[in-house]
Point group: C2
Chain length 214, copies 2
């Protein structure tokens, strides 16, 4: 059975996936960028931004694992872009330039209809207004037997966790405190969507935690 | 300068220091005892309950570090015992038997006055109704130059964090999810009482995180 997988989901030691005061100029909130520093120390992370070099150890292997066996992606609208409310005449096409690093169908959750966007390199953005189950159903169909990756943000992942639809989650605890902000593990019940901790691995930079169904 | 130190403060991967549904028979809440399993695998942890054996690795060393240089303890009333509201004619003398493992003055925060209790082995329980600053002041005086240890529960530690009075905190992330319960890192601000992450060390059982002032 194909799975819904979350990868490289970074949070602070005190449990925040974004800092307080998220806005147009601070999409990750106050201090939130510290959660992702570790990514850009790795070879895979650096290649995403067109840079060379970077580490090839455990952090890099975890990032690489997030790319394998994935046929489609679901993400929240805030991960797609900073536009809020209706789309109006926005020509926003994502944060990632003309050739986004997906190369497969991406389904964006939104309350506001938007025409599909076709990008270079095989990435398409489809906008789903019918809710998280509908988006996942379309993603599984598009993935054609491969797994579906669930992107952020925290609110999107929390909704899929609450619905018990996440099969695997790779969580990263970054060595920082944010004090306030947006949590992923909140408004859940003691079953946490049926997930359990199956592995904890530390690198010099961060702690990797794998959650899965027992 | 003597310090206020927290040690062996266990929480789940999703940030709960106790599970949901805390009560007389479930002082740690649903699943909360899983947070402390690691303690009883160590030599120091086992000796606390009169058992022999146990590991002597990194987990044991962290527990031992919590005992050194401490001259007094401050704890919340729920860590002292299960009695709630007024003390009435309760003869509760703590969870730890006639010779508690403190061997120094212990200050218990409560809204309800209670006479001091003298135990065997040098432990005294003093009950402080004037608030967290007053309790800490009395503990520093009693410690006579040594550090003060801050016990639980989560609410007590959170109050001292919010007041910026905690100097060092040894946090333990246990490999479990609780889904709901009581958090220590909540209702704080981005400064988190002036603490930062200074060290993360994993053992096979848990992740140790040390917080301190930069």
């Amino acid at each position: 059975m194909p799975k819904l997988r979350v990868h490289n989901f970074s949070m602070s030691v005190d449990g925040y996936a974004a800092g307080p005061g998220q806005g147009l100029d601070t999409p990750l909130g106050l201090g939130g960028e510290r959660l992702h520093d570790w990514v850009f120390e790795t070879q895979h992370g650096r290649s995403m931004i067109g840079a060379e070099g970077g580490s090839t150890g455990v952090d890099d292997k975890f990032i690489a694992a997030g790319e394998t066996g994935i046929g489609a992606t679901v993400m929240g609208r805030n991960m797609f872009g900073p536009v809020r409310g209706g789309w109006g005449d926005s020509d926003w096409r994502g944060w990632w330039g003309p050739n986004p690093p997906y190369h497969h169908p991406v389904f964006v959750l939104t309350h506001h209809p938007h025409d599909p966007i076709e990008m270079d390199g095989g990435t398409t953005f489809d906008f789903v207004t019918e809710g998280i189950e509908a988006a996942l159903e379309r993603a599984y169909a598009a993935a054609d037997g491969a797994d579906v990756r669930l992107g952020g943000g925290a609110s999107t992942v929390q909704q899929y966790l609450r619905a018990g639809l996440v099969d695997e989650m790779h969580l990263v605890i970054a060595p920082t405190l944010l004090g306030a902000g947006e949590r992923v593990f909140d408004n859940l019940d003691p079953e946490v969507g049926g997930l359990q901790v199956v592995e904890i691995v530390s690198s010099p930079a961060v702690v990797h935690v794998r959650l899965a169904r027992p």
